[in-house]
Subunit: 433 residues, 2 copies
């Protein structure tokens, strides 16, 4: 049974706090092992990667077979049905169109002092994308990571995807191909992250690593952060649905379950201003759970972390939503646009009852890699910005230096940084002399 809360209850605040701080993920502490793996890959390169892949994925590689060959990719891609290919192509096209609009513009201007200022954006040269193997090897995630990188202008884009016992998902390879990925390595775990960050004889190092992974991958990304850029440390998925009574309880139930089925640690929350509607949704969830393929996972998630919260009105709903800062937020109310202006801490907002969150996972266009675990308070979903960096520009004329240089001299002196000041003084002396 999920928890049922009501803001009119005296103990609501305590119960809501408990919901917010529930520890959903019990990550094993793999940091020591991961540190050893990274050191091993740094020291021994390919040999370490090959040994670790044999041990963890039961797969024997050589430097020559570490990456998929063009013919291996073609052969796998040929297994994809036409229906699936068409769907994946539509998704790729829509994701590309959305992300192309994110490209920021350079700026340059000359101010009153005569200083020309501005900035310029450029892409990281090389990026690596981690794709989990097995159950969570999602082609849609390949599109969501690879397309923004290519739109940003990343020249070299590599994928690392473990293939336990040699098993590979043809759709993942097709998604990589549609996105313009340059190289696909069949390696995984902390050893893949280390190889992408530091390089080996076979694997060229990259500048930025993105993509989800298990506890080993997450710990490795945290460790190589600084040497390379990383996207984020993603936690289990979440959805918050704010719905009034003018909704089909079954639709809302399916939206809640579409998060719950991801992972036993996922969290699905409904906020409604109608107690009866909340009960009807909970009932519809139970009905769907009787037949859902992934009912074991979805049922555990809903039972352990699900919640139905009754509020007095939609303002209260918005306030609670901002405290939850959900990864996904569905607004199934009469005026979802108006409500969305108050729900500011959220990774992605889905407006109205015809926008189930699943649309955003595949074909909507916006990215599905989103901040989890309340981090929408301070971070954003993946975008082209993750593959760009900004260089600031400034150019002084002699007049500009005369106008603002003296202030720099004073501040340098106050910070006891004499050479800073002298570098201005020497120039002003010539100009004024």
């Amino acid at each position: 049974m999920p928890v049922f809360l009501d803001t009119i209850s005296a103990d609501f605040e305590t119960a809501f706090q408990a919901l917010l701080s529930a520890k959903r993920e019990d990550s094993p502490d793999v940091d020591v092992v991961v540190a050893q793996i990274i050191e091993d890959v740094r020291t021994r390169g390919d040999a370490a990667v090959i040994e670790l892949t044999a041990r963890f994925d039961r797969l024997d590689l050589t430097p020559e077979t570490m990456a998929f060959s063009a013919s291996e990719i073609a052969e796998a891609v040929n297994q994809v049905t036409e229906v699936e290919r068409t769907a994946l192509e539509l998704a790729a096209e829509r994701i590309r169109a959305y992300h192309e609009r994110q490209m920021p513009t350079d700026q340059e201007w000359t101010d009153a002092a005569g200083a020309t200022l501005g900035w310029r954006w450029s892409a990281v040269s090389a990026a690596g994308l981690y794709v989990p193997g097995g159950l969570a090897s999602y082609p849609s995630s390949v599109l969501m990571n690879a397309i923004p990188a290519k739109v940003a202008g990343v020249e070299r884009l590599a994928i690392a995807v473990p293939t336990p016992d040699g098993q590979v998902n043809p759709l993942v390879l097709l998604a990589a191909q549609l996105s313009g990925v340059d190289k696909i390595y069949r390696i995984g775990g902390a050893q893949a992250i280390a190889a992408l960050a530091y390089g080996t004889d076979t694997i060229a190092p990259v500048d930025k690593i993105t993509g989800p992974g298990n506890a080993f991958v997450a710990a490795a990304k945290r460790r190589v952060f600084g040497k390379v850029g990383i996207d984020m440390i993603a936690g289990p998925s979440e959805i918050l649905v704010i719905a009034d009574k003018d909704n089909d309880p079954d639709w809302i139930a399916l939206d809640l379950l579409s998060q719950a089925e991801h992972d036993e640690s996922a969290q699905s929350i409904l906020i409604t201003n109608d107690t009866e509607f909340g009960q009807a949704v909970a009932q519809a969830v139970e009905t769907r759970l009787e037949t859902l393929q992934r009912r074991a996972i979805a049922g555990a998630s809903w039972r352990d972390f699900g919640a139905v919260i009754t509020v007095r009105n939609l303002e209260e709903a918005a306030t609670l939503s901002n405290r939850i800062a959900p990864e996904h937020l569905e607004l199934c109310v009469a005026d979802p646009v108006a409500l969305s202006k108050h729900t500011i801490h959220a990774g992605a907002i889905f407006l109205g009852q015809y926008t189930p969150e699943a649309i955003g996972d595949y074909v909507g266009g916006p990215n599905h890699v989103l901040p989890t675990a309340r981090s929408a308070r301070f971070s954003s979903g993946l975008s082209v910005m993750d593959f760009l960096k900004r260089t600031t520009l400034s150019q002084m004329t002699p007049e500009a230096l005369r106008a603002i240089g003296p202030a720099a001299e004073i501040l340098a002196r106050s910070e006891s940084l004499e050479a800073h000041g002298l570098s201005v003084t020497a120039r002003l002396k010539r100009l004024n002399g």
Copy 2:
């Protein structure tokens, strides 16, 4: 003596690689201690912060004296000279004007399928800024961190600045006041980062922590990353100057020294297409080092990590610059704008001989918090973006769902996520009658 390299030498590549990979910072491994401090602050809150401040800063605090009072700030600020105040105000005004231009815009559009898509930016609610105590307590850094936060719209901005033995820099408090900082705590080290991240009875938790610090602060920021956002883990400062012979060697020498004087681990590199000019600059550095106040620090940095590289031409200079990916890049050549289009991996570029890097440290306008240690390959200097996050928006009409929903159903099935597919199917069934 700095190293002298020449691209025409047979061993240039080896020597340049050595320069690139020189380990300049020997950070002590403080991770275990920092983990204990964070745990202590999480568990015991104010009491832990007070004990640790007494131990490390020799300062006895109470919950009531943890933050500076308005009258304490006013009193300290009164000690600042008019000349310094005016300079700091000019700096604040110019930094604000530059960063105001960085504010991104929201977007919304309806595409051919009838889907309304877009995104909306919003500020983090609360941010914390770490300011080192002692020698590196720079008022300019307060402006550079606090102003972008306030321009972004951060409602609550707190500073943590240690005051060893109660010593405080009045200019730091004035800079905080000019930037609109809401609260200034006299605490430092890992305990300050922990208190800002997790909160105590006295200190409200924030969503994002920025600002430089020592090894303890850096390790603590790395540990709280995820619970809150952080800016970057900054390393020692660097400058690369590309200069032709039509420059005053003394000016260039002072620019190199203005990085070297920061820190013995700082690195200053000159690339020139004229060997004699390079020698003249090296000579000018030696001359300035005879009298410079911070000659011990600057001399050590120049001797241990300084370099003068002669190249055949400016294309070669640009290629090497991109491999170095410097924090600061000065282009003192006849056409700096043309050259800057090829030097794409750099935190900040200073164009022409009247733009010493020190202008950018104080009054230019662009931020002086910049990516170090080659991280300009994948990251940018601090900006308003660090205090904003983006929420993506999507809204389907019935027609849009009919157009793109079937592809989502197919992809959900291919990923074995049945509820995802059913959430679309249920709606399409109703729509299609």
